[in-house]
Symmetry: C2
DNA sequence: TAGATTGTTAATCGATTAACAATC
DNA sequence: TAGATTGTTAATCGATTAACAATC
């Protein structure tokens, strides 16, 4: 239970998704069910849950409710996480409107943009705030995590500012890779890269 | 040179990005330069390029122009790839407007939407087409690859139709995982999953 | 020749999986 | 007891990396 492997962490959301979708009446799941849902081997699932320190019952399976709670705890989403979206263009707006976020424990508490004409405009029930406020809002603890949805040209600068303000992690959807100091968790989602990889296989 | 490993394929776009960004005057790159840019070990780079069947020159490095061409060939983007975007909401619009696609060899040749009021509206220089045309357009060879940017509820159905029409690969940005037959290359990008993974580390 | 850098080997590391005793 | 399924071991597989001879 020291530290989970990257591969294991990447599978936990998939298990969670199955656990969130089973019928109310189903109290337990088998490693086989979890495996099918996650697209992995059942032994792999059992190993993952064992690494989590989570025990099932032989001949029966794993408690849906308990496992759900355990995974959420491990991922750090027992409580709710406060997320800011930086950039209110088409991409930022799309991300802010995605209701699945709230269902999964993430609250969009702020959306920032540089365009003065759009300040105050509502996306869902969050009003667009001016970009300059992001730094102090982050320092003040308004949000934990940031989603970058800004143009390529400003991604690095925005990331630097957020890191300076102590943001706990960054999800970068901007079409530019950002460099961050060691220890700052970042994930970069880039459309071109995804298409290039896909292009190889198709 | 039989078949590249998944890990190697995932790194090729990163190498390519460096190669596209070096000054005109720089004719060669070292494995060390590529390694820094891609965030991997130099030995790893040399192994990757060796797997590609690409040779450098000892004491000198790798030819920028030749390597660039070789990687593009390997990824299947020597020529241009024709991409359709399915769904013209905020997400689809953001993806369609991303100019980096064209720079990297992907042409957005069609954007489809179900909303009758939006048919004909232009995004960049592509007019929105009615969703029903996607199947025949794909069959007719208008596009190779599809990017899904539809609501969660329709993702699976749309994917099924595209696969039926012989689409070569799918990049799914819809907030729902789609199931596809073996052999159809798919990549799924899900905001919640990314945040959950990030949440563990931050 | 001296310095730089590749190409490849061998070692290591990390992750997956088959198999099966344990046990509900 | 019989059937199901976990938990864990050992084997295997896949990927990374240090090291260094080859060679520009």
């Amino acid at each position: 239970m020291t530290e989970l492997s990257k591969a294991t962490v990447a599978r936990l959301p998939r298990y969670l998704r199955l656990l969130d979708s089973v019928r109310e009446s189903q109290a337990t799941v088998s490693s086989e069910e979890l495996a099918v849902a996650a697209g992995v081997n059942a032994a792999n699932v059992r190993r993952d849950l064992s690494d989590l320190g989570f025990q099932g019952t032989r001949g029966v399976g794993y408690s849906v409710a308990d496992l759900r709670q355990r995974i959420r705890k491990e991922l750090g989403i027992e409580g709710r996480r406060k997320v800011a979206i930086i950039g209110a263009g088409n991409l930022g707006t799309a991300l802010a409107r995605y209701s699945g976020l709230s269902q999964r424990g993430f609250d969009v508490v702020a959306v920032y943009d540089v365009d003065p004409d759009r300040i105050g405009e509502k996306i869902g029930d969050v009003a667009i705030t001016k970009m300059e406020s992001a730094h102090s809002d982050c320092l003040g603890g308004l949000f934990d995590m940031a989603i970058l949805a800004v143009p390529a040209g400003s991604a690095q600068q925005v990331a630097d500012e957020l890191i300076d303000a102590g943001v706990s992690s960054i999800l970068n959807f901007a079409p530019a890779r950002v460099r961050v100091p060691d220890g700052v968790p970042v994930r970069q989602v880039d459309l071109s890269t995804e298409l290039q990889i896909l292009s190889y296989y198709g």
